[in-house]
Symmetry: C2
Subunit: 140 residues, 2 copies
DNA sequence: GTGAGGATGCAAATCATTCTCAAGTGTCAG
DNA sequence: CTGACACTTGAGAATGATTTGCATCCTCAC
């Protein structure tokens, strides 16, 4: 009954309301990267009265608690996903909008090294790739 | 008298107006990554009547002609820089807002390889690092 | 069970950016 | 020179995502 994200909220001592439970559940059940409007639509299927303002507020709360992550694919809308899994980045298919996740330790190490060489400690980073599907026969 | 960017505009056959010349000059003379408001302020020092709408329009024109590049440091405002130099990325000092440019061929190659392995052709990518200055004695 | 502090819904406000439109400018034919 | 056509500009209105003010409602530690 309690979603994974709701569980994390409880552990962090966040006050839980019906609306927050709904948003938590929507994001727990999502396996894509919904924007705020999509979260709102899915939330309204559970509670038709939930307002978009509350969705915004709940998402911000969850993000500030590091329970979810905000993503920015450059289209002017914030997208969200559960933060618990392994750190990864996204390849966005610019033709279909499809999002492919990838993990690459080499690139993570390289980024840390670049920052270090510039005499900085790396706090955060953004990386997205944008591409189009490749015909398997031809390369590059 | 004609700025470097104005020269590029002429070569591309863009119709030049006084206002476009001013925006071109502001960006040619900039050695930072100004946002639209900053470009407008600098432009008004040359032509006090230039409107923000024209600055937006000129920046879009220059960007579409690949003469300048739009940057997004995650603060909700577009920033711009001349595009002619070598492809590079940015490390943003989250305490001071200072921007450090860096070039890293290894990371570029790695990104292409990641996309290729996912069966995609890489069209574009975003990469920014966010960090804080490191005391030179202690590491990591 | 109660109360104080926090949360909600709604509408209005922000903020960056784009658009509308009337007026201005440049280029060229006649 | 004159008019026509195409394009540009400034001002302000419009847009779209997000935040906020406010009156009301709910949660949770006591
Ligand atoms: Mn993801
Ligand atoms: Mn730069
Ligand atoms: Zn990473
Ligand atoms: Zn690059």
């Amino acid at each position: 009954m309690t979603s994974h994200i709701e569980q994390l909220c409880i552990e962090k001592g966040l006050k839980m309301t019906d609306q927050r439970r709904v948003v938590a559940r929507v994001l727990s059940e999502a396996n894509d990267h919904p924007d705020v409007e999509q979260v709102h639509i899915r939330a309204m299927r559970i509670d038709p009265n939930i307002s978009i303002a509350t969705v915004y507020r709940s998402l911000r709360l969850l993000e500030e608690a590091s329970i979810i992550e905000r993503l920015d694919f450059g289209d002017g809308r914030s997208r969200y996903e559960e933060a618990c899994e392994r750190h990864h980045h996204h390849l966005i298919d610019i033709q279909t909008g499809e999002v492919i996740e990838f993990i690459n330790d080499e690139i993570e190490e390289l980024k840390r090294k670049i920052a270090h060489d510039l005499n900085y400690r790396l706090i955060g980073h953004r990386l997205e790739l944008y591409g189009i599907k490749r015909r398997t026969d031809k390369d590059e």
